[in-house]
Structures are given as C-alpha cells and as structure tokens.
C-alpha cells in the first residue's frame, strides 16, 4: 500500500451540518489535510443535533458531528472581524480547495468571494454547496433536508412495489428518505466536482469556482424517473411494477427483485417449485404482473413462513436477488460487513471509543484511513495560528478575548 489518494492536498472547510462537512470528510479520509473553520463558541450546528452519547446534549458528543468530521483539524474563527478576515485570507493562500456553504451573497459581504480569493491564490478551487445554487429565484431560500428532498422530486419516486390494483393513495403525503441522505448526496457531488477540478488544475489549468446546488444533485440522481415524467406526465400509468418487492417474512421484512425470467425462476426454486408458479399466469413477466393480485398473495404467504436469514441465503444460493431489510443493528452484526472491516473503532477524548462506518471503496494502492477523530471545538487553534501562521501566544490570547477565534 502506498500513501492515500489525496495526500498533500490542502482543504479548507467553512461549513456546517451535513453536506459541506461530508464533502470535506470524503477528502480528509483519503489523505487530504482538512482545516475546518467553526464559529467561535457555538461551532458547527451539527454539534447541537443528536444523537448524543447517553442522550445527554454535549457539543463534543454528537454522533452526527463525530461521523462527519473525522480526519480534520478544527479551528474557530469569525471572518466577519477584520483580524478574522485576514486570517481567512492567509489560510486560503495556502489551500488547494475551499468548501463553503454560506447563503449566496454572504462571502461577497465578507469580502471573501471567489473573485477576491482567486487574486491571492489563482490555483484555488472554491466549491460552494448550497440548497439551490448561486443563481435563480430560490438562491436565498432557507432549506433543511426535508425541503430539498421533497422539492427535488425524490419523495415522489419511492418504488411502489409490489404492484396491486389499488389506486395511488393520495391521503398520505410523499415521504423523505431517512436520516440526511439527500444532504450527503450534495456533499458527495461537491467532492466529485472539486477533485475533478483538482485533476484538471494539476494538469496545467488554473483554479476555478464550482457552484453546487443540493437540489440539482438530487435531481441528477433521479434523472431517469424525473426525466420520464418531465417528458411524459402520464408515464406513471404505464408503470406496471413487479412481483415480489418488499414483503413481510417470519421475523421481519425482505426485498425480492425478480422481474426478469431467470430471476423469477430462481425465486420459484427458492419457494420450492410450487405448482402454481408453473401455470399459464406465470408464463412471462407481463402475465405475472397482470395477475399480480392473485400471485402476490401466494408469494407473501410463502415468505411469512420463512425467516430473513433462510430467504436471504437460500435465495442467493439460487442467484435470486433478495436482501433482508436490516436495522442498523443487523448491519453491525452482518458477517459480510465484519469480514470487509466496514466498521472501525476510533477513540475520541470526550465521546470515547466508538464504531464508525468507513467507506465502500477498497483501494489496492491508496488506503482509506480516518487519521483522527473529529476535532474538539477550537482544538487546533494553537497549532494552526501559532505553529503555521506565526501568531504569538499574546496575539492568540487577544484574538480569543476579542471573539476573533
């Protein structure tokens, strides 16, 4: 194994909550040096969101903050003060990538817009991640995860499997994805763009500015479904769905995806070759869907008599695409996840030793590595301000007293 993929790259993060911090974490865990700038005293909003250790709110024990801020150095800074602004500029001078998530217009008011920053560092790649992007009528709209998830169209595209003759239920509103999934998406999209620009820059181009809209990140992910309806509003009527889908079993829920013939045949094998599955109604995909009202209950009935583990492992032995609906506890206990080392223990001075998800990609040469736990608020002030920027102890104390840091 060599060094990590982004070793030597310097990232400056001026972000809160999920999208921006995830973007910088993705790079930090691949070896980039990330300096995270937080508001003096308050810090990142995620520090005030749970889940907290033992459910006791504490700025250093938020699970959301701990996960999203591994492999970062943390400093406090108020760039709204003249001294703070100068420090921000000094940090930018030395950075390859700046990630920021303030409301459009904010950086300009601070005198820290791309135009200004690119003058002191022409090779800077500045990435702004905001709910709606830098232009357009909603650019200053306030948004939380639920708002972005729904406006992107994604809440309307939960697969309604299995097919039934029932009409779409209009009494219950569309529902968002769990956790902050849509916010993670925006961070991932920003990270991809930033290191694409980094690649270009290191091939001889200049730095540049990247505008990431979280809404667009989500729309792009659902481009097939959204495109179908944008081109033809009646697309839904032709959607037949498929047999199987999400079903209750003896001890939980299971998902079966078996529209294609060979997948269906595997499912039939799994169910022990019942006679009904060889009848005319099961002849091909179309006839199976047409007879779903009669066939689906037969599949449901078989599932209810078997456990998640039985269905999963036996089904997979026949190459039937089937998976259990896992809780986080099930995932933690998964032999497959264990064997691949998906969880790693990281020690944190306040939150203690906890298990963290790592990453889904295993590089043969450049390892993924969370080189440190999330920073305490202002943990690296001394190291960065005195060690790198040459402040004296007195200057540090005075900046602390005047609320600059």
């Amino acid at each position: 194994m060599g060094e990590s993929a982004l070793a030597g790259i310097k990232v400056l993060e001026y972000c809160q909550m999920v999208s921006g911090p995830y973007c910088a974490k993705l790079m930090g865990d691949l070896g980039a040096e990330v300096i995270k700038i937080e508001k003096p005293r308050l810090g990142d909003e995620a520090r005030r969101r749970g889940p907290f250790l033992s459910d006791i709110p504490h700025p250093e024990t938020s699970g959301l903050f701990l996960y999203l801020n591994t492999s970062k150095l943390g400093i406090t800074l108020n760039p709204g003060t003249p001294a703070g602004k100068n420090i921000f500029l000094a940090l930018v001078k030395d950075a390859d990538i700046l990630i920021e998530d303030t409301t459009p217009g904010t950086m300009e008011r601070l005198g820290l817009d791309y135009h200004t920053l690119s003058e002191i560092n022409p090779s800077l790649i500045m990435t702004s991640i905001t709910p709606y992007g830098q232009t357009g009528p909603y650019r200053e709209y306030k948004a939380y995860h639920i708002n972005i998830y729904h406006i992107s169209g994604q809440a309307n595209f939960t697969y309604s499997m299995p097919p039934t003759s029932k009409k779409k239920d209009h009494s219950q509103p569309p529902v968002r994805g769990g956790g902050y999934v849509g916010d993670y998406d925006a961070g991932l999209s920003g990270a991809t763009a930033a290191i694409a620009a980094l690649y270009r820059r290191n091939s001889g181009s200049s730095g540049q500015y990247i505008d990431i809209s979280a809404e667009e990140a989500l729309i792009s992910l659902d481009r097939v479904d959204i495109g179908a309806f944008a081109n033809d509003p009646s697309a839904g009527q032709r959607r037949k769905g498929m047999l199987g889908g999400l079903m209750a079993c003896k001890d939980g829920y299971i998902v079966v995806v078996a529209p294609q013939q060979h997948q269906w045949e595997a499912l039939v094998k799994l169910m022990g070759n019942p006679e009904w599955a060889h009848g005319e109604k099961c002849r091909d995909e179309i006839s199976r869907v047409e007879n779903a009202d009669e066939l689906q209950p037969l599949i449901n009935k078989w599932m209810l008599q078997h456990t998640r583990d039985e269905i999963f492992h036996l089904g997979q032995s026949y190459s039937c695409p089937v998976g259990p609906v896992n809780s986080v506890e099930d995932v933690f206990r998964s032999a497959q996840y264990r064997e691949r080392g998906f969880f790693v223990e990281i020690e944190h001075p306040v939150a203690g030793r906890q298990s963290y998800p790592t990453a889904s990609y295993h590089f043969s040469e450049s390892p993924w590595f969370a080189n440190r736990a999330a920073p305490l608020l202002g943990e690296h002030n001394h190291e960065i301000y005195c060690g790198r920027l040459g402040c004296t102890e007195d200057e540090l104390a005075s900046m602390r007293n005047s609320g600059v840091i």
């Binding site: 033992s54 999400l246 933690f332 990453a359």
Partner: protein, 404 residues
C-alpha cells in the same frame, strides 16, 4: 478550445443496468471519453426493459431509460464469449486510463479481464469493480439491485412511515452507488497523476448506501439505539412535515428549528388562536404535540397552493418548499431559471428532455448532454480509428460474431 475537467481520459466501460452506467455518465459529463463495451449476446437490459419503464422494447435503440443514463458515451460491440473479442478488449484497454465493471465478482477474472490481467496490458490502469456486497467476504457472490442495496444497507429500515412499511427509496439508490464510484475513480486518477501508479478499486454497493447513514450507526455504537422510521418528522424539530395544499397531490414541506422561525410561521399564518396554545410554546412542547400541531398547520396550508405557502414563509425566514413530482420539477420557476433540463435529439427516440450535469464549473465546464449511443454506433471509430483495423478485418470480425 473549451477544456473540460477530464479531457483526455478514456474509460472502457463494461458496466450495465444503473449503478455502473451512472458512474461513467458522470465521468462523460466531466469530459472523459467513455467506450461502452456491449453485445447483442448480452445487451444492457435497460436497452430492452426496465423495472419501471413498462413493456419490453423490441429494439435496443429505443429505450429512454438507457438514453438518460448513457448520455455522451460511445458504444462498441464485442461478444465477450469469443476469445478474439477479449483480445480486442485488451487492445482498447491498452489505450485507456480507467476500466469499470459491475458483473458478479469473479466473472471478469474468468473472462481474462480481471485486474491482474489488465495490469499486464496497461500497468497504470485504474479498475473499478462495483458489486452488490464487494468482492471479498462470505457474501461476495450475492447479487442485488437498488432495492436490495437499500434494504441491506440499513437506510431502507429507517425510511418511511413509523406505522407503515420501510421504503426502499427510488432508483436513486443505484445512482448513489454510482456517484460514490465516480468519486473513488477520480481520487484514483489524482493518485495516478501524482505517483504514476494505477490500482484496483473494489466497491460494495450496500456499503456505499450505509456510508450515507453514518449518524445512525454512531447512535447504535454510542447508545445501542436502532434508528426507527419517522416519516417526514424530525427527531427534534416541529413542525417538520409535508402538508396538504389546494388540489389533490399538492404538498408543501415546512421545517421549524428555532423559536424565531416558529413565531414567523404563526404570524405568516395570520396568528390563529392555536398558535398561542401553551401546548406549543416551546420547541420541546411543539415536538411532543407534533401530531396535533400538524393537523392545525394542515388546516392553514390546505387553503393555499404550495407556492403561495413557500413564498409567504420564505419571506419571513421560514424553510418551506413544495413537494414536487417529475413534471412539476420541469415546470418549477427555479429549475427553469437554472436550466435543469435541456432538450436533445435522439435519432430514434426523437426530441427528449434530459437533466443537465449537476455541477457548474467557472473555468472548465461540464459537457452539454448528447444522446446515448445506438448499439455499436462507434464500432468503426473504436476498431478502425483507435485500433487501426481495416474495413476488411472489421467485416471478418462481424462475420465471426466477434463484433456482435
């Protein structure tokens, strides 16, 4: 000439379905040249059918699903069951930077196209293999699609209504896996640029989705708590829901985090009596009584359109947004202004609106979308121009069903 971020990068793409092709779509939109290796023997099933697209198509070149997820790519036909096709594939790879595949672990090795074999041909090649659960571990041979990835990852369990079933979300589960793949490939390209070394990347689709639910796993680690479904509710914020508006299928989302936002909502809704009810005076009170509060907020929202509510609330600093369908996204004023869709011409499908690239670069723009390739549309470019095979030779390969 306009430069794009990945100009000069060539990807040989053996992926199919959604989770692979969206990764190479992102790279294509960043300017890389994607050569999709396909065959009549094993057509990408999205060319013929799709879980949600309805009836099976008779031609491999009429699929809108295939089009939307394979924009800007080239297609060469190679029948990988023929040894000669494997040799040709390797010759293409010799000219390339990246290889992608999402077959079941082991299949590329058996074809003679595994990482070790390709490294012989092109020592600094970057190869990404994306599979259901990764290429190591006891479940490495298991197969899956978006709904099973969502289920196994833990995210589906925590999505949906508390009193209903889990939600496996949408096809965007596949594209999330793909977005993760694209990031990993770009990291490897940066590493190669610095060190000259290629590498193999083994990606687990289910793990890619688990990574997007990090805080739930920390909650389990810290408190042994299993994250349960909350529908549109939040663990601390209230009101926080999707509320009915005028007309069937019209909804608006509203989220209140602070007292300031709460008071703004009260005022914007005309300060009805219930806004002064003690039950709702503090954030914890509002969260405790959120069901009742939702009913009262719904009484207000349902007399207006989702755009009226959004406009009214945003003016006073409250987070609100309509809940849109695909056609509504297309008609939304902000989408229009940002140009989220563009129209292209496909030789067989005709005019089609597609979603533009999701990043706006100031110096090296993403590529404007072009229609997806017809099956084998670029046989001549790849075999003739790139590899220098003669017309006669290409005709012979077609005859022998190597190019097929």
């Amino acid at each position: 000439m306009v430069k794009h971020p990945l100009d000069g990068i060539r990807v040989v793409d053996f992926t199919w379905a959604w989770a692979g092709p969206y990764a190479t779509l992102l790279m294509a939109l960043l300017g890389a040249e994607i050569i999709k290796v396909e065959s009549m023997k094993r057509p990408d099933h999205t060319r013929l059918r799709s879980l949600m697209a309805g009836p099976t198509l008779g031609s491999p070149d009429h699929s809108t699903v295939f089009n939307d997820i394979n924009l800007n790519k080239l297609s060469v036909m190679l029948n990988l069951t023929k040894p000669e096709a494997i040799d040709i594939a390797k010759r293409i790879i010799k000219t390339a930077d990246v290889v992608t595949e999402n077959m079941r672990p082991g299949v590329m090795d058996r074809l003679g196209l595994g990482y070790e074999a390709l490294k012989e041909v092109k020592p600094d090649i970057i190869m990404l293999s994306s599979s259901a659960l990764g290429s190591t571990g006891p479940e490495r041979t298991y197969v899956g699609y978006a709904p099973t990835f969502a289920a196994i990852s833990g995210l589906a369990y925590a999505s949906g209504y508390p009193d209903g079933q889990s939600s496996t979300l949408s096809g965007a589960i596949d594209t999330r896996v793909a977005a993760t793949s694209a990031f990993a490939i770009l990291a490897a390209l940066n590493y190669r640029q610095r060190t000259g070394r290629g590498q193999n990347i083994d990606l687990s689709s289910s793990e890619a989705i688990s990574s997007l639910a990090g805080e739930m796993f920390l909650d389990y680690s810290m408190n042994r708590r299993i994250t349960e479904r909350t529908g549109n509710h939040d663990t601390v914020m209230a009101p926080h829901n999707c509320y009915p508006c005028m007309g069937e299928g019209h909804w608006v989302t509203i989220a209140i985090a602070t007292d300031e936002e709460w008071h703004a909502l009260c005022q914007a809704s005309g300060n009805p009596g219930w806004t002064r009810d003690k039950k709702f005076s503090t954030a914890p009170d509002r969260h405790r009584n959120r069901e009742e509060l939702d009913t009262l907020v719904s009484g207000w929202t349902s007399r207006h359109t989702e755009y009226e509510i959004t406009d009214t609330l945003q003016k006073v600093g409250v987070a609100a947004a309509p809940s849109l369908t695909g056609e509504m996204v297309d008609k939304d004023p902000h989408s229009r202004e940002r140009g989220i869709f563009c129209e292209l011409e496909h030789p067989l499908i005709g005019k089609r609106k597609v979603v533009v690239p999701p990043w706006r670069f100031s110096a090296t723009p993403a590529m404007p979308p072009r229609a997806a390739p017809l099956l084998g549309e670029h046989n001549h470019y790849v075999l003739g121009e790139l590899l220098g095979l003669s017309q006669k030779e290409i005709a012979r390969l077609k005859e022998a069903q190597v190019v097929y």
